[in-house]
Subunit: 322 residues, 2 copies
């Protein structure tokens, strides 16, 4: 089958990768469409030391199981189901888990991807394939209200005007927060303005400590330092993006101002699918281009070097995303 | 009056510092006894750039106001009372606050110290003066249950066998947690064992991610990194000690394991006084020596270079701590 493979040296497209054979409890999914994520770009730069097929945002058609023949999306953590954390309902943190296209499991930039049946969610007919690709990152945005108590009208600053920052800002505005997005890219900030969100260019950000909640979606080592400059005493900082490798910063303000820092990763797929079905969140305006799978390396290169929001890969040429 | 003063170059004892004049709303307190804290040692090394009389842990006799003639302890943050944070009940975070012996306010290593009347708490007769000196650090330990929901039996690791680690461990054990203290000093760990707490020398610490809650009382840049190695996914790390200056560490585990980090500073004096009156917490076993005020610089030097727990300064020679 066709696949986009991260090797020791580079990312390559190949037309003759062996098709995967689903393990017991797994389902093979014929991929229709996939999304390029910041994590993919970090993996290419060496994060996690991953080798294999990239890709963890996808929509496909299940080839077996209860959703056979239907469009599905898939949660990315494949857990053991029996360890202490799995039994506590923290399967996403199972220490022996594999993670789709990130850790010990081939991903979705390919004709076929395998996942446990229990990871799959059918896509309601009302949701287009190109919108459904956003289920995984949108679920990650909905993890914030799942972890942090929110008050209507509280002052939220989202740092980062990229894909995830955009989705987090939309989700938190919908939850009733007073949201301001801080970014570096005029075009991305303009898009957020069109969506009704307040925006501030990073260079104009006032360093007053007034934000109740700061969400760091920068993927940059400077994100947390900036967050500590603007969060109010007893406020909360949510870290949504990982920074590979060590970073240097002063944490004395965390103690002096009694700030809470919350790490936040994968989120609830069912909530994201409801939001997409009810059109509560706009995702299609984030799509900056659709590439055939054969041109995935071009998409990855451009996503790395250009300020794009979201590139999709149209994996199944017979069923392009509408 | 006599005072221990931090100048640009060094700490000096002087016998002729001008006696302070209480401002409106303030009370002069004749100091009986004071405690040397890790923060004092950090201030001497340049933390906060403080200049003036050191000392923020004290017991004294109020010279005016409703507690005139009675023994009192004092909260260390002197706030404006009118700003947004003060009105929200977050006076300890007032941006224009002074802090006793730490920020823009002369401290208690002196014959007389001034504080707002509202900062003072009378000391119940059942509490000895030498025990009451621990009210401030013990209140800081009680800030943990005030900030973090605790479950009976949950696994808590306290990093640091010093003054604050000892008090935090005792408080959390009393709250029903299963507490283990990790430290570097055989003598301090032995004292904790005598108090009924489990202890592990740092070099024997297993780096499994199993702790529900890790409390960093190390005052060391390595404390948070160690905490991240042993906290379970979705667990909590409380930072009790500040580290002056920038530190370098990888924060990716915070996101991947969805860890919550909570900065924690000053705590509730009334709760600490109840604990001392009811003898719920042992503090006297932490006292490693009592020095006259004239020998404060010796006490500071020894506290900096030797693994001592708590040195007291007997400020009023006519009323030595019993």
């Amino acid at each position: 089958m066709r696949a986009v493979v991260l090797g020791a040296e580079s990312v390559t497209f190949t037309a003759d990768y062996p098709a995967p054979i689903p393990a017991v409890g797994e389902v093979a999914v014929r991929v229709l469409c996939a999304g390029v994520c910041e994590t993919d770009l970090q993996l290419v730069r060496g994060y996690m030391g991953f080798r294999g097929i990239l890709g963890h945002e996808f929509v496909g058609v299940a080839e077996s199981g209860p959703f056979r023949g239907r469009r599905v999306v898939g949660e990315i953590n494949a857990s053991c189901g029996t360890c202490e954390l799995c039994r506590q309902g923290l399967a996403n943190h199972c220490p022996s888990r594999s993670v789709l296209g990130i850790l010990n499991r081939d991903g979705a930039f390919a004709d076929v991807v395998c996942l446990p049946q229990t990871n799959l969610h059918p896509v309601p007919d009302e949701i287009s394939t190109r919108s459904a690709v956003f289920t995984e990152p949108l679920a990650a945005a909905f993890q914030i209200p799942a972890q942090v108590p929110l008050r209507s009208g509280q002052k939220v600053v989202v740092l980062g005007d990229g894909r995830l920052g955009n989705l987090c800002a939309q989700v938190l505005a919908r939850e009733g927060c007073s949201v301001t997005v801080v970014g570096k890219h005029a075009r991305k900030l303009a898009l957020l303005s069109q969506l009704g969100l307040a925006t501030v260019p990073l260079e104009s950000l006032s360093r007053e400590r007034r934000a109740d909640l700061v969400v760091d979606c920068t993927g940059s080592p400077t994100g947390l330092a900036t967050a500590l400059e603007i969060v109010r005493p007893r406020g909360t900082i949510v870290l949504k993006t990982t920074v590979a490798g060590p970073q240097t910063l002063s944490l004395a303000p965390v103690v002096i101002d009694e700030v809470t820092i919350v790490g936040s990763r994968c989120g609830p797929f069912p909530r994201a699918l409801v939001a997409l079905r009810e059109r509560q969140i706009d995702v299609e305006s984030l799509i900056d281009g659709v590439y055939p799978l054969e041109e995935a390396t071009t998409a990855l290169d451009r996503a790395h070097t250009e300020p794009v929001l979201k590139f999709l890969l149209a994996v199944d040429p017979s069923s392009p995303p509408p």
